[in-house]
Symmetry: C3
Subunit: 432 residues, 3 copies
């Protein structure tokens, strides 16, 4: 019954890998159109450059045709077409010959990671520059260097995508991921790829309780833009949600809270991660760094938490060319990220306030719910049922009860079903 | 002034020991009539078989005249008249000759405790069987066995007893114990015997504040029956109470909470046990197993906690013939159980919300409450008085204050008296 | 900008040192008139002997002209004029010749601290006696001793001082210290001396938000007297405050809570001390012993906490002639006590409920608040600003925010200023 999407998610990531994404531009559009093939419900929005979005302004659109450096010996290096990380994001156009020392002011490398090309952008201050592996930079010879960047900054638009899957309720689960990073895997092809397959699986879920809104935006400016257009609606309708990023390596599981730290999303994220991986890392709001900064800003305060594999900034390959689909992100890593988020969504769907319909303990025996022979196994099953019943007082949610029973919520689903079938409990949407 | 009941409680247990109790039947009636001799206020109630009590139905009454097995060599074994544990509770009548291997299907023993006769019942499924020490079972020879059970299951009634001791208030303290176990001592002759003497001592208490309701019922079906008749009254009037069981061995002290865990009964139980025995065992609601399951069921939610010596299931002799009045239950053990419960009752009676009647510290010196010479001892006495005064703000109960002062509440009773006599504090029933 | 008062505070202590203070009398008046020279706003009040103050009565006034003992060999010892601790406080007049053994009943010394003269008083029971170093007492020879005390107990008055410094609000910060101890330094010349200079510094504070009331009273009877006259006004107007004592040695920092333990004064005291000295000692209400006993008595309940250096009773020299201005109290110790209290006052003044004025994160870059080059230092500065912004939701006070950011509140003042200048936050007096 459970479909293993891992291979498909990984293949989508491979397909999206070479595209030069940024906070605007054709790379974003190409990425969204590939995702649209997987989920045709994806709608694409364009917001013009210069639009005011809260304290910010949509920047010019960036287009690159080519970029490289020619060394004194005539070798072409830092070729954008070979690796889009070579070019600083939002670099302006240039065609110039420079001495090595003049060039050095425009080169960026990591002495501690000599083989890595760093990832650098300059969205809001016009400049140009190249990123290069430190071991290559060290061997550059004196002489004249030709630098060539054929790029354009022009009044265009910022592009984002949105999927809406309607459930029985107009109350929504909000899932956000970003599509502004060029060729890096965990941060951030894993987020949009896992989110695409979450959308597919949500569509297949029978009798969906909540409506689901999944957005694919550029980080920061994208979430601010989206919020500036939709904040009132979101504040009224969103009951829980997750910011999806860094969900592709198979090394760790991580949780980062909402600002308030006590929302339903936080409760479920911690519950799921604890039972998937008791040693998961629990970060604090002070460790934030992605779009939760906007979703949980004061007076925005959407109930958005983060479920991650290894968090941005917490692994060596972060924001370099080493964050790849070979050594960092794997099909197994993506499957783990997908699985954790899916378990959280399932918990949201199946959460309720169960209430036992009779006073005192029900007589399980007359309903064949109490085994004639109590072995250690059947005894633990009976105890699980009795524990579920004893907390089904209408005041505790199923997720509360799972915590009280120290059991994963998913082990309670079949028991809830059985007790409902025997008309021993009723499920309510609200505490009573 | 303090009467030591330990010997008397132990003697009552010895008198009740041989009676064949079950959830119904003459053994219960005989037990209650002996208790009635100690406390004539005990009223006995009979509820007919077939009566619906919430999700349950009062079962048929069980009567046994005799039961035994005759071995191939003519020896009478498993004689009910020698030890009532030999016969499975609620065994139906039988008169049959069987081979050893046919007999084995109806024998129950404990390989790990070869000298113990286990305690087994089958109230709601008709069957028959014998319990036997494993060492005896192993030596049974091939051949024909005559099994003989002269018992009866018939439309009779379930019997229980109730003592009501009226105090100044109609608010009640509810104490429940069970009288359905045959010849076993800690679980459960200790409960009814200690409860009988609690009733005697409550009757002697001067100016009783609360009314006291003490019930002697069969476990589970009895508490469900009692609740089905009295739940509305109990919910309105019961302010605290205890389920009394396993209060007779001198090995441990134990606390099991109410379902909500924060009732007055819980606060007092923990306070008393902490000061009697700092190493007492504190169980969780998940460890429940006795009538608290009914009293604290969702929407019943009476404030009932348990104060025990060694908890059911937590000692080797539990539910076997080894749970006796020689090696397990002792006069000293019963005295400890009685004492802990009595200290809890006394705390309920003496609890109040003291409020100091003057602003700032009173001048103790002019009332001779401040010793001229401060030794270490008098200094600690003065500090105890000042600590009691400083927390007598009308918002804290005496039990709260005892916790704040890290002192047993009973050390505060004489100080409260002294301060009241000097008109320095007033006692209120409610926080102000 | 920060004026170092340490030398001046120490000099004031030296000037006040020789005066014979008690709970009444000319020593108090002389002390207050010297303080008045530093802070002319000090008003002096006289409350007649015999006045009823809550449960107490203002005692007679005590005046001493001379006191000493003449030994058999004609030597004058225990001379009050050499050390006022030699005479028990409130000793009555006497002129008598006694044998050594008769004299011994009136001598007090400390065998464990043979060189120390103990500090003893008898305010409410008339007696006479001398305090003497144990090493001196041991060498007293048999023979006739002449004891001479020229003192007077008469209907006079109890004297106290009060400084009121008005701020923009009629809400008050209440600071109390006591002036009833004769020649001892930490307990208690440090309190009145530090408080005098707090008053001077408060007067210099620009745009004072709160009004400040600083009182100089005798301990216990003084605070009770003051409260009996002003309790209604204080309960309506005081928002925070401190009892100032034992603020002069350079060994420790200590905190003693208000009775309720969760007032603004408690929050600020703990915050300041934690960041000044992470190893500060945190006492409990059970450890109280000074005027907080009155200010926090039930139904008085002013929000008064204590910030101290080494607490009374917790250092060897306490209440003896060894508590001096040489080995115990130092300029550096006084400066530390002053500084801690000043930081607390500053925190009260600068505390507010900041609220960010825009939705989502502000764009710091366009305001030059985001450095072009992120070094470790600038990054931590930016993070501090972003952390302040993220908690500026109108529900958290600046002191709450400092706790959430795990940073001393004083590091936030310049950031608050910068954000206010950029109109990014607004400051409110109340949570919103």
């Amino acid at each position: 019954m459970e479909i293993h999407f891992s291979k498909q998610i990984y293949n989508l990531a491979k397909k999206l890998w070479p595209i030069n994404r940024s906070i605007t531009g054709d790379g974003v559009r190409e990425t969204l159109s590939i995702i649209q093939k997987e989920v045709p419900e994806l709608k694409i929005f364009e917001i013009p450059s210069g639009t005011k979005v809260f304290d910010w302004t949509i920047p010019k659109e960036w287009r690159v045709r080519d970029a490289y450096i020619v060394t004194p010996s005539g070798e072409k290096i830092c070729q954008f077409k070979k690796n889009n990380l070579h070019l600083i994001g939002y670099s302006s156009s240039i065609n110039l010959t420079l001495s090595l020392s003049q060039l050095q002011d425009h080169l960026y490398s990591l002495p501690d990671q000599p083989s890595a090309i760093p990832y650098i952008t300059s969205y809001y201050e016009e400049r140009w520059g190249f990123c290069i592996a430190h071991e290559e930079r060290k061997n550059l010879q004196e002489g004249d260097y030709k630098v060539y960047i054929d790029s354009e900054l022009f009044d265009g638009s910022l592009t984002y995508g949105e999927i809406l899957i309607k459930g029985q309720s107009s109350k929504e689960i909000f899932i956000s991921t970003y599509i502004c990073h060029p060729s890096m895997a965990n941060n951030e092809l894993s987020g949009p790829c896992v989110t695409t397959f979450l959308a597919k699986k949500i569509k297949d879920f029978k009798k969906l309780k909540y409506s689901y809104r999944l957005i694919f935006i550029p980080e920061t400016i994208g979430s601010i833009t989206y919020l500036s257009k939709n904040i009132e609606y979101l504040k009224q309708n969103v009951v829980a949600g997750f910011n999806v990023n860094c969900v592709g390596d198979d090394r760790d599981y991580s949780y980062l809270p909402s600002r308030k730290g006590d929302t339903l999303s936080d409760q479920i994220a911690k519950h799921v991660l604890k039972h998937i991986s008791p040693t998961f890392k629990s970060y604090k709001w002070a460790d934030r760094g992605s779009d939760e900064r906007q979703y949980c800003a004061p007076n925005v305060d959407l109930p958005i938490a983060s479920i991650m594999r290894t968090k941005y900034g917490m692994y060596d390959e972060y924001h370099t060319s080493l964050d790849d689909l070979i050594n960092v992100v794997t099909a197994k890593g993506l499957e783990g990220g997908f699985n954790a988020l899916w378990k959280a969504i399932e918990a949201l769907e199946r959460n309720s306030y169960p209430k036992v319909k009779i006073l005192c303990e029900p007589q399980l025996g007359k309903r064949d719910l109490y085994p004639a022979l109590l072995t250690e196994h059947t005894n633990s099953k009976v105890m699980q049922m009795l524990n579920l019943i004893t907390w089904s007082d209408g005041a505790h949610s199923l997720i509360d009860i799972a915590e009280l029973c120290e059991t994963p919520i998913w082990e309670l689903y079949p028991i809830v079903k059985k007790l409902e079938d025997h008309k021993l409990i009723e499920l309510y949407n609200e505490p009573s």
